[in-house]
């Protein structure tokens, strides 16, 4: 099947109530948090420009956006399994490569929807707190924009990885969070032991999801190893689901 045909089908399938609800929820939550946080601090005597900065908006929108993009990708991909639609797709002429491509298209469509919603949310939030949205966007650095663009995509790919391996949304989410918690604990242990021994070892550059999170929030990487970790993580996250789809009996 052609990529365009797959794209049309996946776009048609994505037009469902839960997608609209999640996107609306994202918009409303971020806009409300941005508005009330800023208003309370303005009341305390600070200016809107000083409170509602790109860094502040990124901290709020990236964490909630990440959670919602993961849930949406997992819901979308798990549906193909719970409805046995992968079996039907093979009967209808999909190859296993087509199934993988369609899954990747699903991730990219969800990612695209979140980026558009993120832009809209940033625009409206700036407007509601009394700032000029265009100049607010002008305050973002290229690194911050790239962090959002690739960070959301990386989180979508990570969610696709877990759901392809686990099949069920709840299991995928548990492993997604368990892995993040494990990385946090490892990072803490390394930091504590580094402080105690006087070394400057920083293993966060080698922790896959930590690197993605740092990339999203534009936390400066300590070393170039973070880029290596990011690249290797992406390769594994893309390759393992491909092999899983090739080997599964539907």
């Amino acid at each position: 099947m052609s990529t365009l045909q797959l794209l049309k089908i996946e776009w048609y399938k994505l037009q469902r109530l839960e997608v609209y609800i999640i996107l609306a929820l994202y918009f409303l939550l971020i806009t409300a948090i941005s508005f009330f946080s800023t208003v309370f601090q303005i009341d305390a005597g600070r200016s809107a420009e000083a409170v509602f900065t790109p860094d502040f908006f990124l901290q709020v929108s990236a964490s909630i956006g990440t959670l919602l993009i993961v849930i949406m990708v997992m819901l979308t991909i798990s549906r193909e399994r719970t409805n046995q639609s992968n079996r039907k797709r093979l009967i209808n002429g999909y190859t296993r490569d087509d199934i993988y491509t369609a899954q990747f298209i699903q991730v990219k469509l969800v990612w695209g929807l979140f980026l558009v919603t993120w832009l809209l949310t940033a625009f409206c939030s700036a407007l509601f707190v009394g700032l000029n949205p265009i100049s607010f966007f002008g305050d973002f650095t290229t690194g911050q924009f790239l962090g959002v663009v690739f960070g959301f995509l990386a989180k979508g790919i990570l969610a696709a990885f877990w759901i392809t391996l686990m099949g069920k949304v709840i299991l995928g989410l548990v492993l997604y969070f368990a892995w993040s918690v494990l990385e946090t604990i490892l990072d803490l242990i390394a930091k504590v032991s580094a402080t105690a021994s006087g070394n400057s070892n920083n293993i966060s550059n080698f922790l896959p999801t930590t690197v993605i999170d740092n990339f999203m929030t534009n936390t400066p990487f300590i070393s170039d190893w973070a880029y290596f970790t990011f690249g290797m993580t992406m390769l594994i996250l893309l390759f393992v689901p491909y092999m899983k789809i090739q080997k599964t009996d539907y």
Partner: protein
């Protein structure tokens, strides 16, 4: 007559377990082949190999004179035991997705929804369908491309008498149109009514393969053959 399906010593093994063991048969254009056998006899595995869902371990298999199904999928309509549709989509949306996949004109979707009498389902989602409605949607899906070969795995399983009659009439109707049909069922009387040829499987092996005429010539019926073989 042209051969639609031909297998020679088709075998599928899972480790040391042989699910389908050297099955050979051929299905000619216009024939209705009934595949009969108890649970675990290899019917579904045989169907899965023919549909390209499972790879054969050995033997030969040709469908429309091709070893693989590339480019001939639209000549085949498949009705599986469990309809694999999106639970939260309506019949129309589910069929539209199939039509987009198969490259069929979307006007055919409405036509088939009327044909299988699912128009009244409206926006009701698939998870709220009765078993009979699910089966009818599966039939509409199978007929989207006006296929030459229709494969039905347990088409009457779990249906009420009206549903069984609907399937029976559908098979007769397809046969009149010159379609070739391969179906499996547990119901011997049903299969005897609609099929022209029979393939009995036991433990993955063929224990009987012949036409209705051959059975009649021996003054037998399907029930008596089945009881001697099982």
């Amino acid at each position: 007559m042209s051969t639609i399906i031909e297998t020679k010593n088709l075998t599928k093994k899972y480790g040391s377990f042989v699910a389908v063991d050297g099955v050979s048969f051929h299905l000619e254009k216009g024939q209705v082949l009934g595949v009969i056998g108890p649970n675990g006899s290899g019917k579904t595995t045989l169907f899965s190999m023919l549909l390209g869902l499972r790879k054969k371990t050995s033997g030969e298999m040709r469908v429309f004179d091709q070893e693989n199904l590339d480019g001939i999928r639209n000549k085949m309509g498949i009705i599986m035991d469990q309809g694999a549709f999106y639970n939260d989509f309506s019949a129309h949306k589910n069929l539209t997705i199939s039509a987009m996949t198969k490259g069929v004109d979307l006007s055919r979707v409405t036509e088939l929804i009327d044909k299988v009498d699912l128009r009244q389902a409206g926006k009701r989602t698939f998870n709220k369908f009765s078993y009979g409605m699910r089966k009818r949607l599966e039939i509409a899906d199978a007929l989207l491309t006006d296929p030459e070969l229709v494969i039905m795995d347990e088409p009457t399983n779990g249906l009420d008498p009206d549903g069984i009659r609907f399937i029976r009439e559908l098979i007769f109707h397809l046969q009149e149109q010159g379609k070739t049909i391969m179906l499996s069922s547990h119901y011997l009387d049903e299969i005897e009514k609609v099929c022209t040829h029979f393939l009995m499987l036991r433990n993955g092996k063929v224990v009987f393969y012949g036409s209705k005429e051959e059975i009649k010539a021996q003054n037998l019926d399907l029930e008596s053959i089945f009881s001697t073989k099982f």
